[in-house]
Every structure is written in structure tokens, then in C-alpha cells.
């Protein structure tokens, strides 16, 4: 069994209005050392078994649905674990 952690964030070149608002709020709380905030999404996928390499499946899912690659980047981590 595989647990996959997928992270989707706005591309560096795309302004993240939520991140800017949160950064400003942190600054008003005196967290002046926090220079930048980018907000994204975190998803967990569970794959019991797969005919195809897991990496290939996850990549395709990200490209097709989980991320909009016009404005978003994605990365993922695959963990193989023993089913309980």
C-alpha cells in the first residue's frame, strides 16, 4: 500500500493574495523575521495497489486534475507502507 502526500502551490511568478494577507498579519504580530508566505493545498492519496508505477499514476492525476499547471506547481512524496 502507498500513501502519497501531494503539495500544490501557486507558481512563484503568480501573486498569492492570501499569502500576502497572512504575511501582513504576521508582521503586525511582530513576526518581522518571516519574509514571505505562500499558501497552498495538501492532499493525501491512498493507493492499495497499481498496475502502473505509482509515480506515473500520481503525476498524471496531478497534471489532469489536482493542480492547474497554468498557475500552480505540484510536488509529491510517495511512502510505501504495510496495510494493517
Amino acid at each position: 500500500m502507498f500513501k502519497v502526500k501531494v503539495y500544490v502551490t501557486l507558481r512563484e511568478s503568480v501573486l498569492d493574495p492570501q499569502g500576502v494577507a497572512v504575511k501582513n498579519s504576521l508582521h503586525s504580530l511582530n513576526f518581522s523575521e518571516i519574509e514571505d508566505v505562500r499558501i497552498g493545498k495538501y492532499m493525501e492519496l491512498t493507493i492499495e495497489k497499481s498496475e502502473r508505477p505509482v509515480e506515473e499514476v500520481v503525476k498524471e492525476a496531478c497534471e489532469k486534475l489536482l493542480a492547474n499547471t497554468v498557475i500552480e506547481d505540484y510536488r509529491f512524496e510517495i511512502e510505501e507502507c504495510v496495510a494493517l
Binding site: L10, V14, L15, P17, Q18, L65, N68, V70, I71
Partner: protein, 228 residues
């Protein structure tokens, strides 16, 4: 002329769209549920606003894989007019029928108010009844209408006159180049954030949106009605 109003789970401007076509424009219109697999007999496809699938994941991302979308893509390829308003625009972007993507409004607020639009191109099948550079008033109602595309795409949109509507004066959402509505390269797919279907009767504050629907009918008649 026969219009289809596509209804997704979470669409909420479908009834306004239906009313605009039936009662104000005076043409035939039918609702089409998202799981249908035929759009035969329809001359134009309308994707209304709302929150399809609760805006889960991204606005329009899940609706884009509805059964009926295959038929909408076919209709677009066949050159039929396809109009997406608000969430409909977001769905067309996710489906890749229009270039670019939508971001949260710069202010992070949901904005619901009438805005001024400038007609940047009155030579499309959606804008032929307006004057070039005419300024009209149409309401917006969205939290994610901040249109984005890369510079290369923007240059192409400008070069092919694909930008049909821009916000006049104040830009309400941070949209690149004040873009409010664009077509595909062929000019038969239009996506726009403002709601023309909510501006079809002076009783409701203005009728500037009606000409958009009249333009579609006019363009359709020019190419489909045999002259006696």
C-alpha cells in the same frame, strides 16, 4: 434558435439564464443536466454561473470532467457559440477551451456590484450588436475572477482581438490587462466574469446585457437562415 443551459450540481444562475433567453430574448431554451451525453439539436450552449461542485479543489475543476463536457467540446469544435458566464468561464478555462486561469480576487473579497465594461471588439458573434468602444453596465458577482495568463498568451489574445470586454475605470478583481471576457482563437467560445443574463430588463437595473444574446441570434441568422 435553440439554446441549451447546462446545469451542474451547484449552478445557481441557470434560472436567470433561462429567463433571459425565453422571456427577454424570445428564443427557445432548455435545461440540460450535466450527465447528459447529447447536445443534438441545440444551436448555442450556455454555461451559467454558480458554484459547481461547491468550488471544491478549484472553481470549475470538477465540472470540467462532467459527461456533458465532451459534447460541449465537440460543439465548440464545430463552431457553435459557447458562452460561459462566471463559473461557466472558470469551467471553460479548466477545460482548456479558453487560455489562462482564474485566481482569487486581489482583495480576497467576494464582489457583487454593477461594473462598467468597455467593448474592445464588436466583431465577434457575441458582441456584434454593440458599438466598438461602447461602455455598458453589467453586474459582477464573484470571489475568483482575477484572470491570469502568461505574457506570451496575453500578447496572442491582443494580437487576435480575443479580448472582448475589459473593466472600464476601476479594475474590481486584479485581472490582468483589465480583462473581463475573452474568446478562443476561432471566436465562437466566450468566457466572461460579468453576468449579462442579470442585465436584460430595465426593471432589474439595466438591460445592457441583452444585446449580447441578440448578437448571438443575429450572427446565427446570418449564417443559418436561408434568404427567401
Amino acid at each position: 434558435m435553440r439554446f441549451a443551459v447546462i446545469v451542474f450540481p451547484g449552478s445557481n444562475c441557470d434560472i436567470d439564464m433561462f429567463h433571459a433567453i425565453k422571456d427577454e430574448l424570445g428564443e427557445e431554451v432548455e435545461y440540460v443536466w450535466h450527465d447528459q451525453d447529447s447536445l443534438e439539436g441545440f444551436d448555442a450552449i450556455l454555461l451559467p454561473g454558480g458554484f459547481s461542485y461547491g468550488d471544491y479543489l478549484r472553481c470549475g475543476a470538477i465540472a470540467r470532467f462532467s459527461n456533458v463536457m465532451k459534447e460541449i467540446i465537440k460543439a465548440a469544435e464545430a463552431g457553435k457559440p459557447v458562452l460561459g458566464v462566471c463559473n461557466g468561464f472558470q469551467i471553460l478555462l479548466e477545460a482548456g477551451l479558453l487560455p489562462g486561469a482564474m485566481r482569487r480576487n486581489e482583495s480576497l473579497k467576494f464582489i457583487c456590484k454593477p461594473v462598467e465594461l468597455k467593448i474592445e471588439n464588436n466583431e465577434t458573434m457575441f458582441s456584434g450588436s454593440y458599438r466598438q468602444d461602447e461602455v455598458i453596465t453589467v453586474p459582477i458577482a464573484h470571489g475568483e475572477g482575477n484572470y491570469y495568463c502568461d505574457e506570451e498568451t496575453l500578447a496572442r489574445l491582443e494580437e487576435n482581438n480575443q479580448i472582448v470586454f475589459t473593466y472600464n475605470g476601476e479594475n474590481p478583481n486584479g485581472s490582468i490587462s483589465n480583462i473581463a471576457g475573452i474568446t478562443n482563437e476561432k471566436g465562437n467560445v466566450l468566457g466572461m466574469m460579468p453576468h449579462p443574463e442579470r442585465a436584460v430588463d430595465s426593471l432589474l437595473g439595466g438591460a445592457d446585457g441583452l444585446k449580447l444574446f441578440q448578437s448571438i441570434v443575429r450572427s446565427w441568422r446570418e449564417s443559418n437562415v436561408v434568404k427567401a
